[in-house]
Amino acid sequence: MNKRMIARTLGFLLLAEAVLLLLPVFTALYYQVRFPSEPNDVFHFLATAGIAAVLGLLLISVRPKDKTIYARDGFAIVSLGWIVMSLVGAVPFTITGEIPNYLDALFEIVSGFTTTGASILSTNGGGAPGDLSALSHASLLWRSFSHWLGGMGVLVFLMAVLPLAGGGGDIHLMRAESPGPDVGKLVPKSNQSARILYLIYTGLTVAEILFLYVGHHCGTDPNMDFFTSVCLSFGTAGTGGFATRISGFADYSHYSQTVIAVFMMLFGVNFSIYYLLLCKRFKDAFRDEELRVYLGVLGIAVALVTVNTFKTAFTNFGDALHHAFFQVTSVITTTGFSTVDFNQWPNFSRVILFLLMFLGASAGSTGGGVKVVRCILMLKAAKVGARRLSHPRNVTSVTFNGKPVSRDTLNNTTTYFIVYSAIYVTSVFLVALDPNLTSITSVVTGVAATLNNIGPALEELSPTANYGFLWPLSKIVFIFDMLLGRLEIFPLLFLVMPSAYKRHFRLHKPY
């Protein structure tokens, strides 16, 4: 492993975090000027930025002998980077006293960066520490901003700005951080590819902010002020899920909720589709198999939930449709926003939502879960396998988008699913030990909601509840699950494998 390159890249990452922390600093300054009675967080964010900057500068001074990195270096950089980034990012919450318990603060920021949106903050109001109302505007912004950064990836963000590794090494970082079985570039040069991704990403985010703010400006939604538009758009873009009000989403107009739902759906689409659209390759874009399955499943799920909640949870068909659409989209894209407490819905709808948690969004989007493309591949492989049980000599190839899928990819996808399941089961075991949880549903759905980066689960971890009451072991398990889910397991697993540290081992990303 090229330890010097790893250290140096982590240095750049920390410097970037220091610069990004300035956004909450300016927010704090702004609100300090406008609303002097608000808690003043300027110094705390500045101090954290300072710490990050100092650490970053120290690490950058490490001069690598060789700038070449391989797949395993990519894994190490991504996993260590995200851990370090979270450790530093949690500091402001603790030193401001808003989340005095560091583990809780860490949970919250990891939930932010991994775009989960599970919160340990209570929603009682009153401004007590550990409650959502205690957070200053700067803290709220930092929480939501972490969703935006984590969505498309921090290393991808860096790559757009400066070349991190020599030769073609950047692809290893991209592959380690971006979700999906076969991550590729949009254009030949890595940094240009990263730039295009971020341009599309930023463009869509800005569009959502405008749509939301227009609603406020026209008077239809008094609660959707500019600050909220920005925070919620950050959250949608990263498919995160943090709310900024203690009432969640209930106080926003139907218009705002619909805007958010539509954009959630958009952010769950593979970004290379958007690139295809920009290149005017419309046919290729709309013929994409993953896109069709994604939209198809979404449509069917919305229909089923609407019918199921009409007359049971909602008296009005329009309401049922509206909230079904919002909630299904929220869960399938692993965002986790909720307009109503879907824990009160009939079992059928709740099960649909639970299963959608595992399906996840498209690869190459900011969503989590196993990813639609992997599910498609596994089902196809299973179909072919089943056929060969009755026709052993039959040769059928698995194809995706008309192209044959290599056996390697299929094997790796299956491997991914097996390891994923093992982690799910282990987590359920550990979380079941929690004395504060009484319902098995909470345990099972809670792990699903964190491993797949959704946020709210069912029963005791429903949208109206929070994760704060759990004991530390559960919180630690969930922190790992959130990271494992966002980074798609192997980069983190790699860190704990002893073979990683052996000099002669070269690891290819298995899937």
Binding site: Y70, A71, G167, G168, D170, I171, H172, G184, K185, V187, P188, K189, S190, S406
Partner: protein
Amino acid sequence: MIDLKIIVVGIGKVGQTVAEQLALEEHDVTVVDTDPDAVNDAVQSADVIGVIGNGAVQRTLQEAGVADCDLVIALTGSDEVNLLCCLMAQKTGGARTIARIRNPEYTGQIGLIQDSLGLARAINPEKEAAAEIQRILKMPVARNADMFSMGKVELISFIVDENCMLCGKALSESFAHIKARALVCAVEHGGELTIPDGNFVVQKGDVAAALIPTAEVPDFFRQIGFRTSNVRNIMIIGGGKIAYYLVKSLLRLNVSVTIIERNREIAEKLSLEFPKANVIHGDGTNRSLLLEEGLTHMDALCSLTGIDEENIVLSLFAKNVAPQVKTVTKVNRTAFQEVIRAIDVGSVVYPKYTTANLILQYVRANSKHNGNGSDMQKLTRILNNRAEAIEFTVTDGSRVIGKTLTDLELKKGILIGSIIRAGKAFIPRGSDMIQAGDSVIVVTIAQRLTEIDDILKD
């Protein structure tokens, strides 16, 4: 610097090198190959994007973006596929095309092929490598030899040993006694490359590169203490394509050639093609065979088998039993260059680099600004590809015209080595001026030059 969109079809040994070099020069490179592993490797080792498929099929080319691509380079193992690929590329997008065509049977009709298919270049790596070997054989003291300006100027690299007059003296001191016009434009000492000035002291073991007008080459080497002799008897081991082209041109010069080839069919074909050559069917690594066929009386030995290790060992063996023999070794793999250099096996020819250089030269020459002031005629890399010598023809728009050389503010690491005017080559002095219509040879260590004005400080 305009960056081109380039598609490289076929990532074999040469394709990979070319793709890497072009990506380093900041062009947008897409590689195409039918082998997914090759494509994956290429994408991981260079900043390129890959498409898996047959490059001669229109759909694959479209997927690779041929519609708005500037240049398609076909380097697959099959000449026919390369030609088809270029044809499809041209018809689909109008990109310029370069194809590798190595079958000796097609050399006669290359011109016709090029015209009909609109190829910008047809590259025959073996023929080029053979030409390079021939230049080295013409000047046996040379490690490498390159020709500029239609043969008016040679750039020759050689090792300075204790017999050489330059050894241990400052350049200005040595050249005060030399009548031949030559300029030492780059010296490699202990792994470090320098563009020397008059005070530079050349030491034993250094590799020097000198620009010399062709007519004065033998004279120059004699004056600095090298005994030059004409190569009259050459032994070639390995009857492959390079040998084919080499033998053809050597026989034209009335040189006596012995070829040792392991495969009977190939040996017979060679003897049919070249009745004047002495063709031996035997194993070139057989020591007694080599001695029997007169290795010790040869002036030169060219090891051109398909196996790098064999070639290297043969050359070392020759140097051992017959130190006067000039050895030229062909090495396919470029990965172990430094090791081979350290062994000091004599002249080494890397066909991979020959091809890559030709392509790079073409790309450089065609990615220049508008309002240029020069045409690039030739680009070559010397001293293990770490320095470049480029020949430009200067046109009216250039900013280098009309100023004396001392007045021109050049970037670091650049030397104007030679000016060719009205068919005559000369080493310029500080008081000389570059005129429109001159050909100028520039040697540079660090810079990437695409036109003559690039040598000036911005």
